[in-house]
């Protein structure tokens, strides 16, 4: 890396390396946001430098969330553009694609699960607004693609279905996830209900939901 990031692309690279460091440290221990000093250190920069790229520590993590949501929703939008078959077949393809994405990006939900706590903390209203605006716009776009893909949905309902699909995903994750250190305890038979295989459970739940959605139309 250059000593000083002067060109815009170099600045973006610096910013990205901070985000990468933050992500990696957070995933090491999701119980709390890593200290800014550790993020800086991991990125090979000084603590003060972090504040040249982000206003507050929390902004780092909303930027991270933004990346995550963007990546997922863009992929889903692309996916919808190439869908074919009967509506139910297309839904199945979508859910498979979605589940596969989550499986291949196991960090997605671990990061997404922090959204609520972060968004309530130390962030200017405007910043939260912008974050939510981005998310809403991406959901609308993906929702539109979904409507086109399925053709049987009411106009305007696509985005709402995306919200509900994601809500079910997030809720299940929060209920079923547990720290690594609890693995042994969670294996006890009495907790079977709260520790099934997440991917299986998610797919099954989403299929039920979407069956209901299609039945609705």
């Amino acid at each position: 890396m250059k000593q000083r990031a002067i060109a815009d692309e170099d600045k973006q690279a610096r910013r990205d390396s901070l985000l990468a460091a933050a992500r990696s440290l957070y995933l090491e221990d999701t119980r709390q946001l890593p200290a800014v000093s550790r993020i800086a250190e991991a990125a090979g920069l000084a603590k003060g430098t972090v504040y040249l790229y982000f206003q507050t520590k929390e902004e780092i993590f909303t930027a991270l969330l933004d990346q995550e949501f963007s990546a997922l929703l863009d992929r889903l939008t692309e996916h919808f553009l190439t869908a074919s078959g009967t509506p139910w077949e297309r839904v199945n393809l979508f859910l498979e694609f979605y589940a596969k994405y989550l499986q291949e990006h196991p960090e997605f939900l671990r990061l997404a699960a922090m959204a609520n706590s972060v968004l309530e903390q130390n962030l200017a209203q405007d910043h939260v607004y912008n974050f939510k605006l981005q998310l809403a716009q991406r959901l609308e776009r993906t929702g539109n693609a979904l409507e086109s893909a399925l053709s049987v949905l009411e106009t305007g309902s696509g985005a709402r279905l995306m919200v509900r699909t994601y809500a079910l995903t997030l809720g299940l994750w929060q209920l079923l996830d547990y720290p690594d250190a609890m693995r042994e305890v969670m294996m006890r038979p009495a907790l079977r209900l709260l520790a099934p295989d997440f991917a299986t459970e998610l797919t099954s739940a989403l299929k039920q939901f979407w069956r209901g959605v299609l039945a609705d139309q």
Copy 2:
């Protein structure tokens, strides 16, 4: 209140007054758990006394969550015992009852939403196990009642449906809830997708889900 709680019932009263204080303070500002000193003060006790009744601050809040889940699930179980009509009618009655409960207990979801952050923090494995065990058992019980009530469900699937129903509820809440201070910002049309009326949205989503569930059988 007595000076010293010697009898078991006096102890329980002390414990309850601490829980009530903690609940009330937390609901004043859900951005973070209130300080132990404030809880003690609100309960009219000394700081050290709190630790005679709870091992850590987090235990206070898991106890609170326990109360909440217990109250909700017991009510649902009761409800199922008196259900009648076709399965779909019974589901509708259940969802109405459920939505009404949440509306009449607006603190439920605000408290429930902290479960994840609290359960990951500063609690002995055993304690978490016991908390989850309680929850699982209550869900099983309610799930069984649900199975009886609907009669069309596969044996053993009731509890899982309760989990999914609650997951969808929790996920929607997390996505759609926002601090009071953000109210104005959330009203802007561009955020309409992320700020619908929660009760309406929840009911609609759950109906879709349950339509799918019944179609599955």
Copy 3:
């Protein structure tokens, strides 16, 4: 010292030892207030303990100033009670006593000189009010004693004369004082005007002022 200060007198002792530590560290280097951690350490206490006795760091130093002003003004009040001779003789005795006090308490002005910067910083209005109220009341008391001692002053003018006397003292100190490290530089003849012997200069200036005061009556 006891391990825990439970009795009021033990608490007062703790408080005093913190004040003593703060005073001593400040006098070591008057360029800035010492860090709270250093004060605690010097007093043999933990950092957090400081905050059991003072709300903010600045409060420590207003308490110190309070002690200083109290000591000086009480001594002056006492002094006035025993004055005798013609008014001008009594003024001379007073000024000698005052100058001697300042000479014997070389830390007084070094501490007093920080008043302004401290009072503007991080203190609740109420706290500043109370500090100023104390000071005003002590000045009134001393002013009254002064009026009695001189007998030629207009009623009510004593306190104002104390204020002006102290103002001249403080102003001279600020103009003429310099850090130890500057001693050599300050000896250069070109700076003679700004580096006379402080006590001599002060006495001379105050005599002029008081000659004018008596001439006024």
Copy 4:
């Protein structure tokens, strides 16, 4: 302003614009020196550029003080050159002129009051020496003019009288000044002693002092 200040006069212009920015920002809030970045920004320059014109931040403010003292003392010197009447009449004219100057330049004392804290901080000995030297020389010059004007003063006592006059002024200012936010509190009757009208109090005090001075001769 030119892009680059190459000619000396352009450099001086840059320097002056920095001083103007610093003055204006400091007067906005006298509780602390403004940040260098803000000064640079207000002057329309980059942060680093500041350090081409001043070695340290404190130098900016000593330069400002230099300007202030220079302006005041030059005006006083001029004034003395045109004095007429009896000595006491001339003193009265001088004090009126002085008080009027301070009233018309309300920023003077707010700036002057920072001298002590700034001069103790982060400045090379040489720099402090030069600053004090300037001040001493100006005081001597003004003192000489004063001696000529009054004709009854001992040779060499003029500058000392200027020092004492300024000391009384500064001391009173420090005792009686308070931040705007304290205005309401300072109006309470119990603080009347510490919050009289400054100009009135100053004039009265200086008249007493100068009456003593003339009586001395």
